[in-house]
């Protein structure tokens, strides 16, 4: 086992999957010689050569469109979008084709590709470099959406994403890229897609979140638990689509209270979907309205204001207290 940060852990998954399976190719802007702007693709060009590690011309729709063709042609492309804000340029290909070819061909054809990109705020970057818009992808039937929360699960989820028969959008919380290290086993491990994890057990309230929000949420939960003697359960979704409703519903059925934390704007966000599932399947177990802590419905503010706009531990803690106090 080695202690790796998330960049190194994702890099390990790429190295091992490319080693294991000669059909895996990596493509994107500056992924080869430059090793990616965050160095996620470090060493790949040297190890696997230009035919499998492709520095493409600058065109996101073309990167994804050609990835679809590669996947149809028997390869397993892992395409990179340089930043979240530029991934939108690939949406016509994702929504129009990647997500639909299985249905269009009645299961005769599949698109086993991964589209990975850094996501979310917190690194004091320019406009379009700090976006949390997972619903744009999670809303599209036929696309899987995965958001890891640490080095070890990032590695294990990416392995599954690459091996998956369907297109997977793999969003990497960039604020976590170098935030901390974790033991990551050398031996390849895979985590199933579409499954959440209970990362802290409790009985008084269920906190549901994912990605970079997990860590500040855990901090808030521990603080509130210490202050009040409560025990908050924390669920890390890991996959936004398909969504593991069962884990969330089971937890809330036991605790009776829930708070959902998302970085993205509030309206039509993942929290709304989670609350709807609770409404469908656990309403009679709820002892308080389900609260959500989210971004606001404003154009992602530049970094001068981002700290004020991205939910922090204090905001989460206030929502926890409020929900615990509800009678």
């Amino acid at each position: 086992m080695a202690k790796l940060n998330m960049v190194q852990a994702i890099n390990l998954a790429l190295h091992q999957e490319m080693e294991r399976d000669g059909t895996v190719v990596v493509l994107g802007e500056d992924v080869g010689l430059d090793e990616g702007v965050f160095r996620v693709t470090a060493g790949l060009l040297t190890r696997f050569g230009e035919a499998r590690v492709i520095d493409t011309p600058l065109a996101e729709a073309a990167i994804v469109g050609t990835s679809i063709g590669m996947a149809l042609g028997g390869l397993r492309p892992v395409a990179e979008m340089q930043f979240d804000g530029f991934s939108y340029l690939s949406i016509p290909q994702l929504e129009g084709h990647a997500s639909r070819l299985r249905a269009r061909s009645q299961g005769q054809r599949t698109v086993p590709m991964v589209l990975r990109f850094p996501y979310g705020g917190g690194v004091r970057a320019l406009e379009h470099h700090s976006e949390a818009r997972e619903v744009l992808y999670a809303h599209v039937p036929g696309l899987k959406v995965v958001i890891p929360s640490g080095p070890r699960n990032a590695r294990a989820l990416l392995v599954s994403a690459i091996r998956d028969p369907d297109p997977v959008v793999f969003m990497e919380p960039k604020a976590l890229y170098r935030a901390f290290k974790e033991e990551v086993p050398e031996q390849a491990e895979a985590l199933p897609l579409g499954q959440a994890q209970v990362v802290k057990e409790g009985r008084d309230l269920t906190l549901v979140t994912w990605g970079a929000m997990l860590h500040r949420s855990l901090q808030a939960a521990e603080e509130v638990d210490r202050r009040r003697g409560t025990r908050t359960e924390v669920v890390d979704l890991l996959s936004l689509a398909p969504l593991d409703g069962e884990t969330v519903v089971n937890s809330v059925s036991r605790t009776g209270r829930a708070v959902v934390v998302q970085e993205s704007p509030q309206s039509y966000g993942p929290a709304a979907e989670i609350i709807a599932r609770l409404n469908d399947r656990a309403l009679d177990r709820l002892e308080a309205p389900v609260a959500r802590v989210s971004g606001f419905d404003v154009v992602t503010p530049y970094f001068g204001r981002e700290k004020a706009y991205i939910p922090d531990a204090a905001r989460v803690a206030r929502a926890l207290e409020h929900t615990l106090d509800y009678r």
Binding site: E29, D30, G32, L33, D34, E35, V37, D55, P57, L58, A59, A61, A62, G85, F86, L89, R124, A125, L126, E127, H128, Q266, F296, D297, V298, V299, P301, Y302, F303, G304, R305, E306, K307, A308, Y309, D312, A314, R315, R318
Partner: protein, 367 residues
């Protein structure tokens, strides 16, 4: 039957001042002494401002930005060929052009310190703010040009800037096609600075020139020495005149070089050699224009020293104004979602302000 020739094309290159400042008099544009000096001063301001901004970034006083050192002529000279009636549609590496269009340097610094307020300046007029999504602005430029035409504004045209990397985007090709079909009054200026982050232009395209991309759309395309301010002025002036006379769009490939890193987060030693960079320093647009001004008797050593001191003081004054500003309203993002307030969004604003107050006020929360 033998094949017959339908059409043949050529691609031309324009240079007025060579890299040693030697002038081809037959091509010299018609500029007054004052205009020439003003153009040089504007390029020097862009250079000094850019170098200062790199220092500020290194000291943590601003965030990431893309330096434009070495590319001053390619955006400043076109701005001098434009009037206030023309639209300036930039990307993100046109500091010289923006300053020449009246953007104060402190605005650039606010913008790059994470404040949207940087995009607001008194002489905004027909100058669009920074456009980061590579290539997308070329389409906006065509729409603007169409609007000018429809409104009968015959004294207005649009100048759009973008990089060599942008020519790979569908948007670029779609923009050229629309502009050509509509015969829209727009001038496309591609700053071919040889690199798109780590990708050299030779891997961006298999075409020998970027200018030739105009041929497919049947519009004039010309390669210009982009480090030659006189050539850039001349080419833009001609293209604007043609556009305003109803002659449609033009593509100008400005051959230049990014002497600095892609952005302050980039390490260019990973992908290019120092020898290449040094070679391009020999073609520095400022050095060349200064030699020309010297030869014309417009700027001697003493005059240059005085000008440099003046420009440096101007940069320092801008930095002082940049640092003095504190009035960034925390809830400003709520002001600019829509033009009309909506109760739901106003409710969110209240929540935001309440949370902010609980966190100890804006100072505590600004990052």
């Amino acid at each position: 039957m033998p094949l017959s020739d339908l059409a043949s094309f050529q691609v031309q290159r324009l240079q007025v001042l060579d890299q040693d400042g030697k002038l081809d008099q037959s091509l010299e544009p018609d500029l007054t002494r004052a205009q020439k000096l003003a153009l040089y001063r504007a390029m020097l301001l862009a250079r000094e401002g850019d170098q200062k901004a790199i220092k500020l970034q290194r000291q943590g006083r601003i965030g990431t930005f893309g330096p434009s050192t070495g590319q001053e002529a390619a955006s400043t000279a076109p701005a001098f060929a434009m009037t206030e009636r023309d639209w300036f549609v930039g990307a993100f590496r046109e500091l010289g052009g923006w300053l020449a269009r009246g953007m104060p340097l402190e605005n650039f610094l606010w913008f790059h310190n994470g404040w949207e307020e940087g995009s607001v300046f008194p002489s905004l007029g027909r100058t669009l703010p920074v456009n980061i999504i590579v290539g997308s602005q070329t389409l906006h430029a065509v729409g603007l040009a169409y609007a000018m035409k429809l409104r009968g504004e015959q004294d207005s045209a649009v100048v759009a800037f973008f990089g060599d990397g942008a020519t790979s985007q569908g948007d670029f090709h779609e923009a050229l096609n629309f502009a050509s079909v509509w015969q829209a009054p727009v001038v496309f200026i591609c700053q071919n600075n040889q690199w798109a982050i780590s990708l050299p232009v030779g891997k961006q395209t298999h075409s020998r020139t970027l200018a030739q991309k105009a041929i497919a759309y049947d519009m004039p395309g010309i390669q210009v020495d982009g480090n030659d301010a006189l050539a850039m002025f001349r080419a833009t002036q001609e293209a604007l005149a043609r556009a305003k006379a109803g002659g449609g769009p033009t593509l100008i490939e400005a051959v230049t070089y990014r002497l600095m890193m892609h952005t302050t987060s980039d390490d260019p030693t990973k992908y290019r050699t120092e020898a290449e960079v040094q070679e391009w320093w020999q073609r520095d647009p400022l050095k060349r224009f200064r030699l020309y001004l010297g030869a014309q008797g417009l700027l001697d050593e003493a005059g240059h020293a005085a000008l440099e001191a003046e420009v440096k003081a101007e940069v320092e004054a801008a930095v002082a104004r940049f640092e003095a500003r504190r009035d960034f309203k925390p809830d400003a993002p709520f002001d600019h979602v829509f033009g009309t307030p909506h109760p739901e969004l106003e409710g969110q604003r209240k929540t935001f302000l309440r949370e902010l107050a609980q966190a100890g006020g804006p100072e505590a929360r600004h990052g």
